[in-house]
Symmetry: C2
Subunit: 199 residues, 2 copies
DNA sequence: AGCCAGTCTGAAACTTGTTCTAGATTAGCG
DNA sequence: CGCTAATCTAGAACAAGTTTCAGACTGGCT
């Protein structure tokens, strides 16, 4: 836990850390306003007071940039969930609540959500590691909510299906193809796979 | 059933039908070779012997073009499945088999699959109707495989989760984040939601 | 202090999706 | 046939992601 999730990243100086943060801030702000297309690399660079080339040094593409933003948000979300964990009786209910809370935070800033999620689904092999990190974070959030010590293989399968459902339902909602109620139903249905589980 | 799925499309002349077909052919061919990024509008136009403006008249964006290609494939797939339906004993097994056959056809041309699926997930509200058609086709394929007359609401929920899983697992596999075996497991797990069902 | 390597900046260039325009072709119709 | 509206073509032009480059700046080292 102490070994932060930064495998091969050389330590950044303070100014560099600040730059990185400014970039992520600017990205989120632009995305909040106009979604994916409003996040234009030149504008991000300008808003973050950084040269375009520098932006590309920190984040090698628009997709990387937005996926990193998502990663950021998920980390905050996970922390919030740790601070006030879902309080259902059985694991399925807790996972549902956790994901619905996540969904609510997406609904609060739909344009930002759109930008981040579209970037994630668009991420190809080039952004593999970053997308992977997001996936691992999501898994961790679900496992946190389940609360069972070490999950069985069956449970891991269920978690993967839940994750797929969460992800795809979110996309459908963002493109107006699915209602909020349906998203909830889908998540509940998928969480049914966890079963009442062992006591 | 007789009212083809062409709501507002004025009837095309023979030459126009041929152009449309040439465009879709060229798209598939380019995609097969180099995936999403190899499908460049200028190249499609040239390969289809059509002016760029015409290409855009037929398909208002690259996303539309690729989603239409996917729609095309799914129709063929559905026909193939009708011709030789999956032969499992229970609905869950049949749906699994249908989806695994679909998956196999994707594996045969991974670059093409990549292009089509990336376009689909990238489709925003602008390409809503087209993406919807793809979704309805997928649902139809699953319902075909289930074989139950009219599904219960619960079953429809299950179908939606299966669809989400299929879709998202496919993306994960395409970006190298999930193995073929995992895709199968995920689909089987999701299909478990159908249950042995009523006799 | 002086130097080196790495980093940052500003600006231009390149790529590819998308739009626009002017003129040629075509289809349908009297 | 000859007319008209729609369609098609060729090509320029525009927009935004990405790359490149020369020069300025920074941080660490002796």
């Amino acid at each position: 836990m102490t070994a932060e999730a930064r495998p091969a990243t050389p330590p950044l100086t303070e100014r560099q850390e600040a730059r990185r943060r400014r970039i992520l801030e600017a990205t989120a702000e632009l995305a909040r306003r106009g979604g994916f297309e409003a996040v234009q690399m030149r504008e991000v660079a300008e808003a973050a007071e950084v040269a375009l080339g520098t932006l590309y040094r920190y984040f090698p593409s628009k997709v990387h940039l937005l996926v990193a933003t998502l990663q950021d948000r998920l980390q905050q979300l996970r922390a919030a969930l740790r601070a006030r964990p879902p309080a259902g009786d059985d694991p399925a209910a807790r996972v549902t609540e956790a994901l619905m809370r996540a969904f609510r935070s997406m609904r609060r800033e739909p344009q930002l959500a759109d930008a981040m999620v579209r970037a994630l689904t668009f991420a190809d092999r080039g952004a593999g590691p970053e997308a992977d990190a997001v996936s691992r974070l999501t898994t961790a959030i679900i496992l946190d909510a389940m609360g069972t010590g070490h999950p069985t293989p069956d449970q891991l399968c269920a978690v993967r299906v839940i994750e797929h459902t969460w992800h795809s339902a979110l996309i459908c909602w963002l493109s107006g193809r699915e209602s909020i109620a349906q998203v909830r139903t889908d998540i509940e249905t998928a969480c049914g796979l966890i079963g009442p589980a062992a006591p």
